[in-house]
Amino acid sequence: MPVLAAIGRVVLAFLGATGRLTIFALTGLYHCVRPPFYPRLIAHQMVEIGYYSLPVVGMTAIFTGMVLALQSYTGFVRFNAESAIATVVVLSMTRELGPVLAGLMVAGRIGAAMAAEIGTMRVTEQVDALVTLSTNPFKYLIAPRLLAGLLMLPCLVVVADIIGVFGGYIISIYKLGFNPATYVKNTWDFLKTVDVVSGLVKAAAFGFLISLMGCYHGYHSKGGAQGVGQATTNAVVSASILILAFNYMITALFFGT
């Protein structure tokens, strides 16, 4: 029965990987809340994730906001529904595009860097060296990154939301000739707290996933430079896919009936 055996192998490997990842995530979370803490390392990671990702997230957000305004105008003008553009821009940005695009950009920037850094530490035995120096690698390497990802992505998404809405505003006012006051009023009138909150919940989840994937693949990388390269690729690809999957699930939780 070679076919059944092959299916069984794949299923077992998948279940094994899921289990390992879950244990890894739970261990990481456990060490996030148990002393000793490393405030300097957490602060360092927060700057790395939050501050240094601002340019790339800002650029992504402003062009997304601009293109949203432009695209919805070309569609809505046929139905004389131009006044809905402000609403479309603000809802798309806060609910979906802010968190997802910021998440994907940060996954490329931070997830890759984490996997490469921890992976190199693993293959050069620096992770083992931590253990021999009575330092738990989960506390020293992983918990600060998980916490920083969890906390900083929502901050980045707030910035992305604002910049994105502003991008839509610029195009609507200066290119499409809208009335600024009406545009701002339309933006505010249809924006509910839940739109922003759901976006920030997504952001926190994505931030955690990005750090988790970066740390997990880095921590388990083996076999020198090639292994680290593989870990980096896996971290970015798996983080991106998980972001899109979780995006759907969180949306269904908030807005599904």
């Binding site: 190199t120 530490m121 050069t124 035995e125 620096q126 083992d128 060296a129 253990v131 021999t132 120096l133 009575s134 330092t135 738990n136 020293y140």
Partner: protein
């Protein structure tokens, strides 16, 4: 600690990776204050043995006792306490790239012993001086050091917390013979100064002769010969003879994969 217990006592240790059996019922006792060198070919499981003792790899079967305490299956907290007795010099030095030389040296003092970094710095400088590195090196980063200097910093880091047991993983690999001998001298001196127990693994016989009190030969997952270093030339063991004279012909057949 009394001399009743061996410092490290290993019984019937088994470890395999997939179908490859690496350790196959290994027994080894290391007594306080002695320096044991485990020799064996590449891939004979020397590193795996060290990692099992350190708790980095979980063996399938057997027991490892440190000062009479069985450490296998120990809760993590206890394990961390036992690990505080250890210092280790890694083969590739394994210095933290993001930290300067003195921060690397002081790492164990600051992280494990909770020392303030101002207090740890002079101790780190003193340890660096012991391995022949001046204060001008202290604020360099590992990437700016030569291989021999990295090994010295790693040695300083391994002894900074004044461990009771020091492990040396291929201490001379990748160094020229003279620098290798310098490192050997430093190992002998620092271990003697600390009064520590030392366990080294190497395939460099010059290094083994210099740092060992006793030599153990690891072959096919077991210690096939152990004895004082002066007896190694009259071991009347064909495997040991082949290894120490580095002959291609003999009872040991290297696995050469295509």
């Amino acid at each position: 600690m009394t001399d009743e217990y061996p410092k490290i006592s290993i019984r019937n240790l088994h470890k395999s990776f997939g179908s490859k059996v690496v350790l196959n019922g290994l027994d080894l006792d290391i007594w306080p204050g002695e320096s044991v060198v485990v020799i064996g070919g590449s891939g004979s499981g020397k590193s795996v043995l060290l990692k099992c003792i350190l708790g980095l790899i979980e063996p399938e079967d057997g027991s490892i006792a440190i000062d009479g305490e069985d450490v296998i299956g120990m809760p993590p907290k206890e394990r961390e306490r036992v690990n505080r007795k250890f210092g280790m010099l890694f083969q590739g030095a394994a210095l933290f790239d993001s930290l300067s030389v003195w921060e690397n040296t002081a790492f164990g003092l600051i992280q494990a012993k909770g020392m303030a970094s101002q207090a740890a710095r002079p101790i780190a400088l003193e340890k660096l001086a012991q391995v022949g590195l001046g204060p001008e090196v202290a604020s360099l980063f590992p990437s700016e050091l030569s291989g021999g200097m990295k090994k010295r910093v790693a040695l300083a880091r391994a002894i900074a917390t004044e461990p009771e047991i020091v492990f040396f993983d291929e201490p001379t690999t990748g160094l020229d013979p003279i620098m290798g001998d310098v490192i050997n001298d430093l190992i002998v001196k620092t271990v003697y100064d600390l009064g520590a127990t030392a366990l080294s693994i190497t395939h460099d016989m010059a290094s083994a002769r210099k740092i060992a009190n006793r030599v153990a030969m690891l072959y096919q997952g077991q210690i096939i010969w152990i004895g004082p270093v002066d007896e190694i030339d009259h071991s009347s063991n064909d495997y040991v003879d082949q290894f120490i004279h580095g002959r291609a012909e003999g009872p040991i057949t290297m696995q050469v994969r295509a």
